[in-house]
């Protein structure tokens, strides 16, 4: 009888242990999902800002047609992207094109003095920052989640209930690798 009770107690403990791991996994997965939706919100915000930006800049930057076409093209690519990988690629192309535009703006003093453009520039800076911070938070969450899935003993529970590792969201910003241009004006 006494062994039976000990046995039952042990079983209960093991079950409780597994339940707590399961709950932790669920919580982490939801955090990852939530972090992803934060990135999505900011990416959408950037997409919404771009037509406005093109409209403001068009009148001034008559020689930069190629850059503006690229921005429009990458924007629509990014908006149609489905998977995390696709999205990351399209968004980094878009970031690169916006970076090129930023470099060119230096040659247009009239544009730099335009109130509309200044306000827009602040919005774009903020949105780009928000994207990087949302991405930073997302990647941290993904790492914690993936660690939990790979580590013992939570990997047993993860395997039983089919928790899958999540993909990191990496944006490769082309302008970061470029050597900064020096001008003596």
């Amino acid at each position: 009888m006494i062994y039976f009770i000990i046995f039952i107690v042990l079983i209960v403990f093991v079950i409780l242990f597994f339940v707590s791991i399961y709950n932790a996994l669920i919580r982490l997965r939801n955090q990852v999902k939530n972090a992803w939706s934060q990135i999505d919100v900011q990416l959408k915000r950037r997409h919404d800002l771009i037509p406005n930006l093109i409209e403001t800049v068009k009148g001034y930057m008559t020689h930069e047609r190629q850059i503006m076409e690229n921005i429009t093209k990458y924007r629509s690519q990014a908006m149609n992207a489905q998977t995390v990988g696709e999205k990351a690629q399209a968004e980094s192309l878009l970031s690169g094109a916006l970076g090129q535009l930023r470099v060119q703006v230096e040659n247009y003093p009239d544009l730099k003095a335009n109130q509309n453009f200044l306000a827009l520039q602040e919005e774009l800076t903020a949105t780009e920052n928000k994207i990087s911070f949302a991405r930073q938070n997302y990647n941290d969450q993904v790492m914690m989640y993936n660690n939990k899935i790979q580590m013992f003993p939570s990997n047993i529970v993860a395997g039983m209930f089919n928790f899958k590792e999540e993909e990191f969201f990496e944006l490769k910003d082309q302008t970061e690798k470029e050597v900064p241009k020096v001008s003596f004006s």
């Binding site: 955090q31 934060q38 916006l98 602040e122 919005e123 800076t125 903020a126 780009e128 930073q136 938070n137």
Partner: protein, 410 residues
């Protein structure tokens, strides 16, 4: 993050309970001084009650009182888009669901503080001097520091600790006044017939006087110790949030070099600010009595965060620079092994910052907050109309064009 809050609480709770014990001891001794049989218990009860009342007041109205005492005004995104955006960026970086309210204090001294006992109704206040001296990165660093105070639940703890300090100071004050008017002497003369309890009475009296003098000082040391720990932790969290410690470092440098002093700060509110508004530089000798770690040390630590900016790196560099073995970051946070590299990408660059322009913009923002109207004349002049201007037409001072004023709400 969650674990950090937990163990963070535990660490500070030890100091907090130390302070509570002091409060109870003072209550007991002062009570015994007046009545040796039941006074002790009454004193303890009184001390705790006093602390609870003060805490309740500050819990339910604290941030409002603090903000109105400092003369802070709430800002919206329309008034200052950059400040609003920077706060939102930090909210996103931290991945928290709440959005603190944003306030501006009209004061040339650059400083900032966070308030609100619950993260859901927290607020971040910055001075206009801060806005006109810092560029975007530096502002981000400061906001990240304040945001960290909110996330780490520092404000709640500091509020309760501050009220404990207040209760102890108040009781000492009352005790001294009571002694001055000879309140305790009646009981003493009655019980001094028995020699043994008379001796005890004298002992209690000496202890009471000593505690009345040392109690507030000791409580202040506890309070400052708690405050200092949170400053380091908030710096570390800020570096981690922004991934750009240089922003906060150069902001601290600019704040330290400012010659202005904040008009609205006092002893109780001083620990709330990012940099101690009452003292120019945290001195080595005054380490114990300082609410903030020496600012030069904070800057040095932030600048030394080269390889990475996880909590582990911060702790390591803190030990290296200060030469102390003291744990400033809770253990659970040290385990976190995110190899963090500083983040560098933004639409604006450092050189875009123009101090004159920034001062002018901050002036405009303050005017907007005070319901000034802005009219852009086609000759390029920007006319600022004060809210008490009662005519319906304003004439441009340069070209003489007439502009009508739309809404005369006032």
């Amino acid at each position: 993050m969650w674990e950090l809050i937990q163990s963070n609480k535990r660490k500070s709770l030890i100091l907090f309970f130390g302070m509570g014990a002091l409060l109870i001891l003072i209550g007991f001794v002062f009570g015994s001084y007046y009545n040796s049989e039941t006074g002790g218990a009454v004193g303890v009860l009184f001390a705790i009650l006093l602390w609870m009342i003060l805490s309740a007041v500050s819990y339910f109205g604290g941030s409002k009182i603090l903000l109105s005492v400092s003369g802070a005004k709430e800002v919206t995104k329309e008034i200052h888009p950059q400040l609003y955006n920077v706060v939102e960026e930090m909210k996103i970086a931290a991945g928290v669901p709440y959005f603190p309210k944003i306030y501006i204090i009209d004061d040339p001294a650059p400083n900032a503080f966070a308030t609100g006992v619950k993260p859901e109704n927290s607020a971040i206040a910055v001075t206009s001097g801060l806005l006109s001296t810092l560029n975007r990165y530096e502002l981000q660093g400061v906001v990240a520091h304040e945001m960290s105070h909110i996330i780490n639940r520092d404000i709640l703890l500091m509020t309760f600790a501050g009220m404990m300090l207040g209760a102890i100071a108040l009781m000492s004050e009352v005790f001294f006044r009571g002694m001055y008017f000879g309140g305790g002497s009646r009981y003493r003369s009655r019980s001094s017939s028995k020699s043994s309890s008379g001796q005890a009475q004298v002992l209690i009296m000496i202890l009471a006087i000593v505690l009345a003098i040392l109690g507030p000082i000791l409580a202040q040391l506890f309070y400052f110790a708690i405050s200092r720990k949170r400053e380091y932790l908030a710096d570390a969290s800020a570096a981690r949030l922004t991934r750009y410690p240089e922003g906060l470092a150069s902001a601290l440098e600019k704040i330290a070099n400012s010659t202005h002093t904040l008009r609205t700060a006092n002893k109780i509110t001083a620990p709330m600010y990012i940099v101690n508004p009452l003292k120019k530089e945290g001195m080595k000798l005054a380490d114990l009595t300082s609410t903030h770690p020496p600012i030069s040390e904070r800057i040095k630590i932030l600048r030394a965060l080269q390889q990475g900016i996880s909590y582990k790196d911060y702790q390591k560099i803190y030990e290296m620079i200060s030469g102390k073995k003291e744990k400033i970051i809770p253990d659970s946070a040290l385990k976190e092994a995110i190899p963090i590299t500083p983040l560098q990408s933004a639409f604006t660059k450092e050189k875009d910052f123009n101090p004159v322009e920034a001062k002018r913009q901050t002036g405009d923002i303050l005017m907007k907050m005070n319901d000034y109207q802005f009219i852009n004349c086609s000759c390029g002049v920007r006319i600022k109309v004060p809210p008490d201007y009662n005519k319906s037409i304003v004439v441009c001072p340069r070209c003489g064009r007439k502009h009508s004023i739309n809404n005369l709400s006032s």
